[in-house]
Symmetry: C2
Subunit: 290 residues, 2 copies
C-alpha cells in the first residue's frame, strides 16, 4: 500500500469515529463530505515526508499527526467558505459544505472536525504517551491563537493588518506544523524544523496568489479572483506575474537551504521542489489576461 | 485561595496563552470576553468535586481538565448564539460575542477556544503523559461527534429528532465529561462515573427548561422562552410546571443513587444536591404566567 492510500485509510478510520452510528445522519454525511475526496493532501504528505527523512522511528505517530493536520485543514476550509467569510459556493470542484448542507451543519462540521483532530491523536498515541503532548502542542499552536490559522483569519477583521503575521498565521503556520510534527514524531527536535515550514508556506502562499490570478476555477475546483473580490493582498497584484514567479523561486531556494541535517535531507528537498513546482505548472502571464 | 479563585486563575492563564501578544487584538479581546466573567462555572466545579471525592491524587490533572471543559462550554455558547443557530443577543447579562465583535470573530473565537482546550491539557499534562490520552479522549468524545455537543446541536438540523440522543448529546455529554474526567484525573476508572454525569445532565436540562419557561432574562442573563421560539422540546410544555419539577426531583434522586463508591461520596452528594437545587430556587408555577 503506498503512502497516499495509507493516509486515506487513516483519514477514513478517523472520520468513521466522529461520524459513527449514533451521529445525526446529516452531520455524519457532512463530515465525510468535508474530508473526502481530498485535494492534493499536500500538508499531511509533507509531514510524512519529513518523518521519513528523519528515519520515521514511530510511523504511527507520524501518520496520526499528518491525519490530524489534514482534518484541521479541512475544518478550516469549511469555516473559511462560510457566508460571513469568503461565502464561497465551490470547493474541491463541488458545492462547499454550507451550500450542500446548510450553514448550521457547516459550523458544526467544522467544530466537530477540530475536536476529532485532537481526539484522533489521543486515540492513536495512547501507547506512545511521550509523543502525545509535544505533537498536540505543535498542532494546536499552528491552528489556534495567537498565531495559528484562527489568528490568520482574524487579522482580516482588523482595520490594520500586520501582513507578515497575517500570512504566517493564515498559511505558514500549518506548513510549520507539518515539518515540526513530522520531525517530532520521528524523535527529532521540532523547533529546528519550523523555518522550513514557514518557507514552504510562504512559497505556497505566492503559488496560491498566482493561481488565484492566472488559474481557472475548473482546474482549481474553487473560485478564482478571490483576493481581488475580498480586497486581500496578492503578490501578483503587488509584484506583477513575473515578479511573483521570481519571488516564488527565491522562497523555494530559501526552503531548500532551511532543511536541517537528517538522513533523508536530499530526497526531501527533491520532493518539496517537485510538489511546489507542480502548483505553478501551466500558469503563465498570458493566462492572467484570460 | 479557594477553589473558585484557583479555577479563575487557571482559566486566566489558559486564555492568556491563546490571546498572547501576537494575537490580533479583536480576537484576543473576544476570547477574554467569551470566558470572563464566567457564569456559575457549574461544570468545572463538578469535575473538581468528583476529583476531590476520589482523593484528588493529581490536582493539576483535575484542574486542567476542569478548565478545558469550561473553555469548551464557553466555545459552545459562542457558536450556539450565532445568527444561524439561536441568534441570541444576550449571554451572561451582556451582548453575545457575535453582537459585540461581529459574526466572523465569533466563529473564530469559538474555533480558537476549542483548540485552546486541547492545547491547555497538553501544556499542563506534559509531565503526566499517562493522564493526557485518557483525559483528551473523555473530553473530546463529549464535545464532538457522534454523541457530544456538536452532535447534540446537529440533531436540531434533522427532520426527525431522536430525543434521548439529542438531550444526552446536547447537555448530558458535557456533564458526563465532568464526572468522568474528574475521576480519571484522580486515577479512578472513568466509565463507572458516566451515568452520574448523564443523570446530573438530565436534571440540569429539566432545570434549564423550567428556567426558560418560568425565569426572567434579568436573573438568567440570557433570553427566556427560547425553546418555544425555536420549536424545541421543553419538559414544562410536556409535563406542566409541577410535573417537570417532580421529574427534576426524580432525576436528582437518580443522580444520588449513581454516585460510585469513593472516599468522599457523601459530601459529593450534598454538593451536587445544593448546586442543583439552587438552579430552580425561586421558580414557581406562578412565574410561568408572568
Amino acid at each position: 500500500m503506498d503512502i497516499g492510500q495509507r493516509l486515506e485509510q487513516e483519514l477514513e478510520q478517523a472520520v468513521a469515529r466522529a461520524a459513527g452510528p449514533d451521529c445525526p445522519p446529516i452531520l455524519a454525511e457532512a463530515l465525510r463530505y468535508a474530508v473526502f475526496p481530498g485535494g492534493a493532501r499536500i500538508r499531511p504528505r509533507l509531514a510524512l515526508a519529513v518523518a521519513h527523512a528523519c528515519g520515521n522511528e514511530n510511523p504511527l505517530a507520524a501518520l496520526s499527526a499528518a491525519s490530524a493536520i489534514e482534518i484541521l485543514h479541512c475544518a478550516s476550509l469549511v469555516h473559511d467558505d462560510l457566508p460571513c467569510f469568503d461565502n464561497a459556493a465551490l470547493r474541491r470542484g463541488k458545492p462547499s459544505v454550507h451550500c450542500a448542507f446548510g450553514e448550521r451543519t457547516a459550523v458544526l462540521a467544522g467544530d466537530a472536525l477540530i475536536v476529532l483532530a485532537f481526539e484522533w491523536l489521543a486515540v492513536r498515541l495512547a501507547l506512545s504517551p511521550d509523543r502525545l503532548a509535544p505533537l498536540t502542542r505543535i498542532v494546536a499552536s499552528c491552528v489556534g491563537g495567537p498565531s495559528g490559522i484562527c489568528a490568520g483569519q482574524a487579522w482580516e477583521c482588523e482595520s490594520q493588518i500586520d501582513i507578515v503575521k497575517y500570512q504566517r498565521a493564515k498559511t505558514g503556520a500549518l506548513f510549520a506544523a507539518c515539518t515540526m510534527a513530522g520531525a517530532a514524531a520521528a524523535g527529532y527536535e521540532p523547533s529546528q524544523w519550523q523555518s522550513l515550514g514557514f518557507a514552504i508556506g510562504e512559497a505556497f502562499q505566492v503559488a496560491d496568489d498566482l493561481r488565484d490570478v492566472a488559474g481557472s476555477a475548473e482546474e482549481l475546483g474553487k473560485p478564482v479572483h478571490q483576493d481581488e473580490t475580498h480586497h486581500r493582498p496578492n503578490f501578483v497584484a503587488e509584484l506583477g506575474f513575473d515578479g511573483a514567479m521570481a519571488h516564488f523561486d527565491g522562497l523555494l531556494a530559501d526552503a531548500m537551504a532551511a532543511i536541517p541535517a537528517c538522513p533523508g535531507a536530499e530526497q526531501l528537498g527533491l520532493q518539496i521542489t517537485a510538489v511546489s513546482r507542480s502548483l505553478v505548472t501551466g500558469l503563465s502571464s498570458r493566462t492572467v489576461a484570460a
